[in-house]
């Protein structure tokens, strides 16, 4: 039944092809289009009924005509998966892009991916040390988490993602991460930057890349992340790898989604994005985590650029509702010359509490992190006040907090691209050192027992007694 070729195209609209009723065609089925010049395009059934079938064509509909042959392959989209994916570069539709041979499949995996039974999940609770103080102290990442980077054009989100990919490790474990990298509509230049960096550090051999560049078909972007996640699931749950999935740029993905919606003449939701974008994004982001009885894990780092730096734009907004927090890159800090310019105030890791504390990072981590936040937030607020009334109007406490905000940015946030700080000596001790610039009585978030144990000056004085 899959052999039949139809020449019944009635309409072609944007990336969609409409066919007159054929034999029953299943929803989600894979389609091949045979063009008159002999080339082949791939697509997928979006809507099927007795009269009409709508096919979304991944490579775009250029040069499709009414004589184009359409073949239904009788199956949904599948990716050949095997351990051989590691070290390979594939294109946005899963074909080799590195000149290597085809992937020899151990298994053909459905790329839509079934939902993980929430009861079968395992709570993520292993702290991942990224070596970046802002993340490790304030928005700690755990294995199995999905933590997007909310960035904007012109900001160094790629450097940060790469630094994380390079430095990420579990404290007290030799397990390395396999990186699955998924590019959606990024420029060749950005792509080269990623590949060169992965090559330079030798990480490329430990990575699988799925690449759809800016000049590749836009509709293909809708399947690229699904391929990457299917590969990640296979590696994590069949071969016990710890997989770090980095995908960039989610904004391009959402635009493709909007393009399809518009071509189907669907009722648009906010800013023209389809009403089902939440569910659609959830079906990507939710493919992270750990499951009972399997050793592997999937940790996701989606990168998205907020159009107009607007965090309330539907893309970051809906993402934020699905992901477990976010790392927000700040233009203001970037302009001050601080790298990584992570604004810890709107950043958040929802799984942080499960991954930190005694036996995981350090017993005082939570208190220290709360105190850093509180002090920095108040210090930043005071900057606004100082701009109006000057420093003279501040009391002693406010002056100390104001000064702390500067030190925090300059010494805590700022670090070099190759600086890998350990959580205990590198990050938390540094935090205590900086906090000691504030009088202890103002440090209300810190339990007295931590002050006695870790405060650089209070500690020594109590020991002398």
């Amino acid at each position: 039944m899959s052999g039949k070729e139809y020449r019944t195209i009635t309409d072609v609209k944007g990336p969609l092809v409409f066919l007159n009723k054929t034999e029953p065609v299943s929803y989600g089925e894979i389609v091949q289009l045979m063009l008159s010049d002999g080339s082949i395009k791939n697509g997928q059934v979006l809507d099927t009924s007795d009269e009409q079938v709508i096919v979304q064509v991944f490579e775009g509909t250029a040069s499709v005509d009414r004589q184009t042959g359409v073949k239904f392959l009788g199956d949904v989209f599948k990716l050949p998966v095997s351990k051989g994916l590691i070290g390979r570069i594939l294109d946005g539709a899963g074909r080799p892009r590195d000149g290597g041979p085809d992937i020899v499949a151990d298994e053909m995996a459905d790329i839509i991916g079934a939902a993980i039974n929430p009861y079968s999940r395992q709570s993520p609770e292993s702290f991942i040390q990224t070596g970046i103080s802002a993340i490790d102290a304030c928005t700690s990442l755990v294995r199995g988490q999905k933590l997007p980077i909310f960035s904007a054009s012109g900001l160094p989100h790629n450097d940060i993602a790469l630094q994380i990919a390079r430095q990420a490790k579990l404290v007290g474990s030799d397990d390395d991460f396999v990186v699955v990298f998924c590019a959606m509509g990024i420029t060749a230049e950005e792509y080269n930057f990623f590949v060169h960096d992965l090559e330079r550090t030798g990480a490329l051999e430990n990575s699988a890349l799925f690449v759809n560049l800016a000049d590749d078909p836009a509709v293909e972007r809708l399947i690229t992340p699904r391929l990457a996640l299917t590969a990640a699931e296979y590696l994590a749950f069949e071969h016990d790898y710890h997989v770090l999935v980095i995908y960039t740029d989610m904004t391009n993905y959402c635009e493709s989604l909007r393009q399809i919606g518009a071509a189907r003449e669907e009722v648009p939701g906010r800013r023209g994005y389809p009403g089902y974008m939440y569910t659609d994004l959830a079906m990507l982001y939710e493919r992270a985590g750990l499951v009972k009885g399997k050793k592997g894990s999937i940790t996701q780092f989606p990168i998205l650029t907020m159009p107009g730096d607007d965090i309330t734009h539907p893309i970051p907004d809906l993402s934020g509702y699905i992901t477990e927090g976010q790392i927000v890159i700040s233009r203001e800090l970037h302009q001050k010359g601080i790298y990584p310019p992570i604004n810890v105030l709107p950043s958040l890791s929802r799984l942080m509490n499960a991954g930190i504390g005694d036996g995981k990072t350090r017993e005082d981590h939570k208190s220290v992190s709360d105190q850093l936040y509180a002090a920095y937030a108040q210090g930043r607020e005071l900057r606004g006040l100082v701009a109006i009334v000057g420093e003279d109007a501040l009391n002693e406490r406010d002056l100390q907090l104001l000064k702390f905000a500067d030190i925090f940015e300059d010494q805590f946030l700022r670090q070099s691209r190759d600086e890998d700080r350990s959580i205990s000596e590198g990050t938390l001790d540094l935090a205590w050192k900086l906090l000691s610039n504030i009088d202890t009585k103002y440090l209300v978030r810190l339990d007295q027992k931590w002050i006695d144990k870790y405060h650089p000056t209070e500690r020594s004085s109590s020991e002398e007694e």
Binding site: P24, V25, S26, Y27, G28, T48, S49, D50, V76, G113, A114, A115, I116, N117, P118, Y119, S120, R121, Q122, S123, P124, Q145, K146, F237, E266, V267, P268, G269, P274, G275, Y276, Y278, T279, A282, Y285, E286, A288, G289, D317, Y321, I322, E324, L345, P346, L348, R350, N353, A354, K366, D370, Y373, A374, A377, Q378, L385, I388, V389, L394, N395, K441
Partner: protein, 580 residues
């Protein structure tokens, strides 16, 4: 019931159109060769539009559609508690057994274990007149909860025979004169509210142990509350705290379209939680419904109805039930998604025009009622709303605010300052205090309402003073206003902030809340006196005993020590006056 068969005509995502059958609205049908579960949501000429609760890829036009004759119902009876369901009452542990960690489709599972035997103790006898809703027997369902087996709807008569003993839930335990057989299990269509005699006014508070909620913005038993909050403002943690600590006997938690990992955290955490009142696992009195954001959207739409029907069932036994729905926005989005697949004319922001009436119908199912059996029961509904961009002018928030009586406004700004629970005390409200004040006077302290008013007035004054401070700095204020700022800060940092992850601080009973509030007022009073007597504000504020008082709340036995700590603080404040 005629069971005619139809065929699929069209498939578009979760919406399937069938021809050849004429089902009733909301009838459950089986779709395709795999028998996927679906519900009829629109009739259109000879076409029936069906929302399918499972993934539809791979299904073809021409496959069969079979009527079941029933509307979407839940199974009610012993075995509900401790269970974890998906949106259409399939037990998730059972699904794991049959299909592994990933949820595939076409698997049917009973909501209740039909085989398990329960010890049924009859409480009526031969010859008794019974009618729908009457308790005929009891089953110790879990260590802490006694399940009261009720006469199913639309059944009444004289008992012909009834037997105690060990039965499964489908076996007949009671027979009526007219031959009607009653088993422990009954079914109820989820979209219909269960009947009751009358609704009472809400005049008993639901105690949650969360200071800002109980003290400033209380919820009554049988009341409704909305928690709108932008993401990252601690909404989920707040709801989990409510589930853990509120004094309802039964908790129904609906995770509707939420994150898998967070749902897991709840699923992992609950079985380990100990109920502070009984020292038994909290799960013993909990039913959970978990439908994560990537599970089929139609089941998400159904999940809130499944949840509230179960809640009403326990209410009818005479229990107080707290129902948490997290989040109703995800539910509304499911409605929007299905509505858009149906090509309905959209209302505001693409939501269907019936959004607000659906929300109202849902919240109206809350209430404290006289049950058919004559006892009191309540369902309190706490619905989370996740407004896009934190903007509560959007339709779901607005539709919710028009209905609920309590608004706990979570604030991302506070969350950023790590002020948790990040509930904004200026824009939150509760319409219940008037109805509840008498209860507080009788049960906690005669001046409880006055103390509350004083505390909230101080916070109000602070916000006005802060505006001045923003302009001129705090040193420019007169000393009494500076003191007010200090007191307000104490309210915020000592009283309103509460650490959900701290063993001791996570729960404060109403007595302790009252004493903490009194301690703050006592500080204010003493400080005023001391300053009038010549003490420096700085010295008064910095007496070490005040820090001890504030830090003390993290230690066990605080409620016993608080009055000593207060008198020590007062002594030191007095001393600061003499020092000058």
């Amino acid at each position: 019931m005629s069971k005619e068969n139809g065929v699929i005509y069209r498939i578009s995502g979760p919406v399937v159109t069938a021809v050849g059958i004429s089902p009733r609205m909301y009838e459950v049908v089986r779709v395709g060769d795999e028998g996927l579960m679906g519900e009829v949501i629109e009739l259109h000429g000879d076409q029936s539009v069906i929302q399918v609760y499972e993934e539809t890829s791979g299904i073809k036009p021409g496959e069969p559609v079979i009527r079941t004759g029933q509307t979407l119902s839940v199974q009610l009876g012993p075995g509900l508690l401790t269970q974890i369901y998906d949106g259409i009452q399939r037990p998730l542990p059972k699904l794991e057994e049959t299909m592994g960690v990933f949820i595939t489709r076409g698997v049917d599972a009973d909501g209740l274990d039909l085989e398990r035997k329960w010890d049924f103790n009859a409480v009526v006898k031969k010859g008794d007149e019974i009618s729908s809703g009457h308790v005929i027997g009891k089953v110790q369902e879990t260590e802490t909860i006694e399940h009261r087996v009720m006469v199913p709807p639309n059944v009444s008569g004289k008992v012909k025979s009834i037997k105690s003993g060990s039965f499964n839930i489908t076996e007949t335990v009671c027979e009526l004169d007219d031959g009607t057989e009653i088993a422990m299990m009954q079914e109820w269509p989820v979209r219909h509210p269960r009947p009751f005699v009358q609704k009472y006014a809400p005049d008993v508070p639901l105690i949650t142990g969360q200071r800002i909620l109980d003290f400033l913005f209380p919820l009554a038993k049988g009341g409704t509350a909305g928690i709108p909050g932008p993401f990252g403002s601690g909404k989920t943690v707040t709801q989990q705290q409510l589930a853990k600590w509120s004094d309802a006997q039964i908790v129904v938690y609906i995770g509707c379209g939420e994150r898998g990992n967070e749902m897991t955290e709840v699923l992992d955490e609950f079985p380990h939680l100990i109920d502070p009142n009984t020292n038994k696992p909290l799960m013993n009195r909990t039913v959970m419904i978990a439908n994560t954001s990537n599970m089929p959207v139609a089941a998400r739409e159904a999940s809130v109805y499944t949840g509230i029907t179960i809640a009403e069932y326990f209410r009818d036994m005479g229990y107080n039930v707290a129902l948490m729905a997290d989040s109703t926005s995800r539910w509304a989005e499911a409605m929007r998604e299905i509505s858009s697949r149906l090509e309905e004319m959209p209302g505001e922001e693409g939501y269907p025009a019936y959004l607000s009436s659906r929300l109202a119908e849902f919240y109206e199912r809350a209430g404290r009622v006289q049950t058919l059996a004559g006892s009191d029961g309540s369902v309190s509904v706490i619905g989370a709303v996740s407004p896009p961009g934190g903007d509560i002018s959007e339709p779901v928030s607005q539709g919710t605010l028009r209905i609920v009586k309590v608004f706990w406004g979570l604030d991302a700004g506070l969350a950023r300052q790590r002020h948790f629970p990040a509930i904004n005390w200026l824009n939150s409200y509760s319409l219940y205090p008037q109805a509840l004040d008498q209860w507080y006077r009788d049960n906690i302290a005669p001046d409880f309402p006055e103390v509350r008013t004083e505390i909230s007035t101080l916070l109000q004054i602070e916000s006005e003073l802060q505006e001045i401070v923003q302009l001129v700095g705090s040193d420019a204020l007169p000393v009494d206003q500076q003191l007010t700022l200090e007191v307000a800060r104490m309210i915020r940092e000592f009283f309103l902030q509460q650490n959900a992850f701290h063993d001791v601080d996570t729960f404060s009973d109403l007595d302790l809340q009252y004493h903490m509030a009194k301690a703050i007022l006592s500080f204010q009073e003493e400080a005023k006196k001391a300053i009038a007597g010549g003490a420096q504000l700085e010295d008064v504020v910095n007496v070490p005993a005040r820090t001890d008082l504030m830090r003390g709340r993290f230690e066990k036995g605080y409620e016993d020590r608080i009055s000593d700590l207060v008198s020590e603080m007062n002594k030191q404040i007095d001393a600061s006056m003499e020092a000058n």
